[in-house]
Symmetry: C2
Subunit: 223 residues, 2 copies
Amino acid sequence: MKALVLFSGGVDSTTCLGMAIEKYGREQVTALSVFYGQKHKKEMEAAKQIAVYYQVEHLQLDLERIFQYSNCALLSHSDQDIPKEDYASQIADAEGKPVSTYVPFRNGLFLASAASIGLSKGCDVIYYGAHRDDAAGAAYPDCSKEFYQAMNQAVLEGSEGQIRLEAPFIEWTKAEVVRKGLEINVPFKMTWSCYLGGEKPCGICGTCRDRAAAFAENGILDI
Amino acid sequence: MKALVLFSGGVDSTTCLGMAIEKYGREQVTALSVFYGQKHKKEMEAAKQIAVYYQVEHLQLDLERIFQYSNCALLSHSDQDIPKEDYASQIADAEGKPVSTYVPFRNGLFLASAASIGLSKGCDVIYYGAHRDDAAGAAYPDCSKEFYQAMNQAVLEGSEGQIRLEAPFIEWTKAEVVRKGLEINVPFKMTWSCYLGGEKPCGICGTCRDRAAAFAENGILDI
């Protein structure tokens, strides 16, 4: 059994990578990181270092051109700033639509790319770290359980059952993901979450706030 | 209403493009052609000329790197030759698995890319020209109705219902696609189907045979 793990270098996907390595062994695991035109490359740098730490094969893919027409706030060519509010406020402002940091169908594109590459490399399963908090209030619809189930069906049908998806955190909160990561000694110190690319995390963007809260719920300061 | 059409420059997708233009008007239609590392660029050249003929916006995307690990017979780096048998023989040889010209999850990847681009450009629908004959016997599982339905659900869920798929030929034979194309004056002379990149179509690869048969069923020689 071989697994391909979608791996951004953040808390969730690094925990996902750690779980896949625990289950399959590091020689049966390949990590796939996708650059899509973010305002910074801190995540990608973190991903490279973590892959070295875990001693897993690490593939990198550049899909920036696909998002050249999008004005999503995460993208370097966008004229929108990264919001400084927490997700709850952003979700309320978005009125049932995705938030301004939603990258159009990003996870669908990443999973389809992973399916193509995974099939070519003889993998049986694709892991990805979407969790319940990211899907809340339609903030990121491509993190929802409904999306995961439909996409898994599409991957199964389109590959004649040769490869499938596995989203172990789809019903978990981010705090539960962190708890699992702590249990299996995920090197959280090496991960990067912040949407901005400063020397240190900004502490006020949605993802910084979520990360801090998830660690706090586990009774510890972010490590 | 705006439509994005997956457009290879072959018979099926050109008919699909013609239908979308009939329905939405050419100013509301964008054609998207994807190069994925084929052994030749004849399709892409045909696609460019047909887009000029129809006067539609034409986007081109290069996803060759995603398939660098695949040994599919259509790809330039593959050591497999294009089969010279008809699809029925190939399907029998494949014993319930996809044929050697199946590009791993290609249509899933193309549709996911189209969803990302279509959302960025404010499109409501993605057209693609998969038909029943291509799905027969699991030859190309990413042309099946089951795949289409699951992928449409994934696109709907992952975009919060902002964009959907439309596969008008999903229950049609290729002969029925050609009949429709003839009705709406699709410029079939400009299309390219052959898997090889010679000056003229080879006449013996699976897709050449299928094309000739589809025209013959309509009582005419290929035009």
